[in-house]
């Protein structure tokens, strides 16, 4: 008799486990992802807003009254932990700046050249229409751009970059020349 009871208990335990499993499976299945009909229009909206509002304004690589990433610069991009940020520039790009205080400054910029496409990028630089020493870079470059003497704080500069070549990376339809990863005013002693 005990054996029969034990067998029955075992059978019912299996039934209990099975019912729990079916319940869990049904619940999990019912919670499957729902198709998102707004996905495309939302993505377009996000891109439009980021371009229009210049998300860079929120981050160190910024467009603001002192520094404006104007013609030819893409939106701000960064790694997930935001430890690295950059903006890609096209073959021709313009940067508008205002000097922070009176004095002599270098504009120190770092970034990437044409390494993704396998060539060394050569970039020529003009400040307010006057040619300055350019720079070149395969993966990383590091350049000081002499912007001259400013008479007073807020003097405006237009820095124009012209690349020798451009490239289109895979899965990206942008025509890219080089990137700016950091931009710092450095006073010249």
């Amino acid at each position: 008799m005990v054996g029969v009871a034990q067998q029955r208990d075992r059978g019912l335990n299996v039934l209990r486990a099975g019912l729990c499993g079916i319940f869990a499976f049904a619940a999990l299945s019912a919670c499957r992802p729902v198709p998102d009909p707004e996905l495309e229009v939302r993505e377009q909206y996000i891109e439009k807003m980021i371009r229009a509002e210049d998300a860079g304004a929120l981050w160190p690589l910024t467009s603001r009254s002192a520094v404006t990433f104007a013609t030819g610069f893409s939106w701000l991009e960064f790694t997930q932990d935001q430890s690295l940020m950059w903006r890609w520039a096209s073959k021709h790009a313009e940067l508008r700046l205002r000097a922070p205080t009176a004095g002599r400054y270098h504009l120190h910029i770092t970034g990437w050249g044409g390494g993704i496409a396998g060539f060394t990028q050569k970039v020529s630089v003009r400040v307010n229409g006057q040619m300055r020493k350019g720079f070149e870079g395969l993966y990383k470059y590091d350049a000081d751009i002499e912007v001259g003497v400013s008479e007073r704080p807020g003097t405006a500069f237009l820095v124009e970059f012209d690349c020798e070549r451009s490239f289109t990376p895979p899965n990206d339809n942008r025509d890219l020349g080089f990137s700016i990863n950091s931009l710092v005013w450095e006073p010249v002693p």
Partner: protein, 668 residues
Amino acid sequence: MKGQTDRRFAIGIGVSIVAATLVGLLVRNPPMIGMYAWGSCVAISLIGYGSLAARFAFPGKRLPLALLASVGAGALVALGSVVTATRVMRPWLGIALVLVGCACALPRLASTLENAWAKNARRLRYGRRLPFLALLTLVPLVLIGLAYTHGAVTIALNAYDDELAYMTFPKQMLETGSFADPFSLRRVAAYGGQPFLHALLLSNGELVHIGILDRGIFFSFALLHLRELTFENRRPPFIFTLAAMVVFIFLQNTSINMASHYSGIASFIALYRLLKLGEAEFVAADSWHKAARLAVPYALLATFLCTLRQNFVPTVALVFLAHILGTKVRAHGGRAFVLAVCTAVLGLAFLAGWIVQMRQSSGTALFPLQPGYLRPAFTMRSPTMTPGDEARFIWASLVWHEPFPGWPLALLAMPLSRVLRREHTIITFAAASMIGYVFLAHSFTLSSAENFARYSFPFVMATLFLAAFALASSGPAGRVIASRRATTTASPYVLGAIVGGALLLGQAREFLRLTYQNTVHLAFAGHWRPEVVGRYAHAQSVVPENASILVMVDEPYNFNYARNRIYNLDVPGALSPPPGLPFFGPVAEWKQYFATQGIRYITFIRPTQSRGNYVRPYWFRRFFHEDEIWRRHAPYYIYAFDALEELAKPSRILFEELGLVVIDLERE
């Protein structure tokens, strides 16, 4: 003699309840005093309603107070289902419901006090020789008092949840009699059990203090559960109980708002205790109708848990399913079937009003399985996650689980213990909790792994505490210090608690400091931000009475819900009645949509002047947030900010002060 003493105690308690009610009614300043007193009445009324249910299902038995409180909360929520569905809920009714509950609690409390008096008098006599031990027995009482006081004096309002939604719900119940908001995402997070109990507190108290329900009343009841827990008539050693209570009280509170947290823990522990008691009663019952009576407290407690959070529903359902199929109950075939059917039918009957209200408000009877008015973009399931990604996600969430990483893994280890294997109900809880956890994780993959652990905290923590107590009770009875065997088996849990406790020593100090500081501060504090209340009243006064208003503001609880129909756009775009609020197109579509919904007036806070959730740069940054959930929500917020500003330009601005704007869409 005993009867006379009981009567004296009953009179004393009755006078105290009347005094506390009067304090709540009359002492409006400082409001903390009124809520401290009225909160006690609400707590007592829970016990009262629980006593009624217990008298019916367990005639002639004395159920523990903490268990009665959770069953009583279920009874009140079942009543709430009716009074809110029929739109008759009002402050006077809230006060009446509480006072009736208090009256029902009198006999039980009087006999408890009488017993405690007699027992402690003996202890104190004995304590003349060992005063330290005598005082030690009072420590649990002090801890429970401390927990209640902490809840009463803590105003921890979350600007994103409490101020935007959870504070509006009880106010809406009291002013309109019902609970509906088709535009609110938080409305569908639960059927409404917690907001209804908040409404009872608010019926004779101040809104900013309603957090006492979770952080005070149920925090204390959870501690009382720990004090009362017995396993097969064995208590764990007193020192263990005391240590567990200390750990529990200083455990990191992972709750970030006034939604269910401690009410969940207390009620899951209560569920275990009720099922154990019910099982014994069921086996001893000699007729099917005696067994069927058990369905009343079962269904009440299940109702309460199911109305606290939607994600509790599968865990509760699984626990009941396993219990009914359990060996002892199942062995009585026909009676077990009757019990199962009665519990299910009664549970659905108690929940019916809440289900109907959610269906009418948000188009869903069982959220999130039935999404209702929810926009597909706001579902919590990630559409891109593979099963492998999901397994890693669940693992990460288990490992990062707060307050103690990896604790849910202990649920998996429980069947390894011989002691726990004998405690079928705890193993059932462990299995149901684990499945509930996986279900929650599975439906929440859009979020970060560490973000949703707090939703599972109540059933995971309740099960872990139950297991630790069962292990600690496995030694010889009547010990103050645990036996060697019990110490060995309980040691992993105790070690975890001690390590956790040691890590949280700073938190304990902070807990005590805050309790003291808040008590001193609030004892002299007046009403909360009267100038803000006045601004909202002024803004609402420019809108004709009975007109519908869509609001997207920082403090919607300041509106008068009886004067106007208020639709709260707490999470823009998340929910909206069909055909759904259009996004990302021309703003004129919003105007057309609102016209079809009968909404002519909009009140919003300009995103440049919001002090809470509606700050534009805050949401703009979330375009780049590492959690997909925020990247999804952000464009809806940004669009809503811009759309409202756009709508305001051609519309007549009826009111504007400190960024709070009221516009009339039909006048230019």
